[in-house]
Symmetry: C2
């Protein structure tokens, strides 16, 4: 009994170390996605400012977009150049500010404007909206929303914009998982 308990504990702790526990997508009773409240502890992939293809793009008032991916998915990508089952991406949109403290030019990040999540389950990618981070259970975007067609057509690896993630692009090239001309 004591050894069984130790075994269960070991599995749980080993799972935490590999990021397999808190990483997996969790769904509510209605199928919505539970807000992944620890996404700021996931792996950061890149940040852009005022990129014009984003869903919350606002050229006159540019915003930052930060992209995070679950730790287990990141480790999977380093090995294979592809995204494993259960991969979750968070797209976090933040306001940009120029003047504050000692900063006099350029832009730094301030308040949260929007959170969107992309999840790969059973091989299918689904997008969920979490408003400005104040939604506990995200509702899936409908299949006709532009995110599906844009990611499917333009994503350099699978449904994802690896062409904009400078540390992953060389891995996809080396593993031969990059679509042509993206």
């Amino acid at each position: 009994m004591a050894l069984t308990r130790i075994g269960v504990f070991l599995l749980a702790v080993a799972g935490m170390a590999a990021g397999q526990v808190s990483d997996a997508p969790k769904h509510g009773a209605d199928g919505g996605l539970l807000y992944p409240s620890d996404y700021r502890e996931w792996v950061f992939l890149s940040s852009g400012l005022g990129m014009t293809y984003g869903p919350a793009a606002s050229p006159g008032n540019p915003r930052f977009d930060n992209v995070f991916v679950t730790r287990a998915a990141y480790k999977g990508f380093l090995q294979s150049g592809t995204w494993p089952e259960g991969t979750m991406f968070v797209l976090e949109i933040r306001s940009a500010t120029s003047e504050g403290s000692i900063n006099k030019g350029g832009h730094f990040q301030t308040g949260l404007a929007a959170i969107e999540v992309e999840v790969k389950e059973k091989g299918v990618w689904t997008f969920y909206s979490f408003g400005s981070g104040d939604v506990a259970v995200g509702k899936a975007f409908g299949p006709k929303e532009s995110c599906y067609a844009c990611h499917g057509t333009n994503g350099a690896v699978d449904n994802t914009f690896v062409q904009f993630y400078p540390t992953l692009l060389p891995i996809a090239k080396a593993k031969g998982t990059l679509k042509a001309a993206k």
Copy 2:
């Protein structure tokens, strides 16, 4: 004997889960800091574009700065609003590009331009340069370099620019660790 082995293993795995193993600064024989090659798996704090106070600022050709902190230090900050012994920050400077793939405006991140690391050991913060990420053992900046005076004078919490880290600023305010008027 078997139980002792299990105990040692448990400690090791629990340490990995808490980020206490790979997180600690490591020094070479000459006192230089070993390159923390896994910093992209640390916790991302924020990103700026063309901020004018940075050590590698270049207003005419703005660059991104990404800031990462060790996982154990991040968890310590969430609890206390201060940085524990052994905290390491990485400042990663990357080039900014406007046109590429489907992007037609704004800026996204591309090649690595510079890596600098700030470490808190025995209560003292030291800065190390790693060139453009191609230096295996970073040499400490001399005490008269501007980074020391600027961080010491202007950092909102201890020696660090928490005023530019949107998820940490509210924690410092709540914990009462923010210096006045930063």
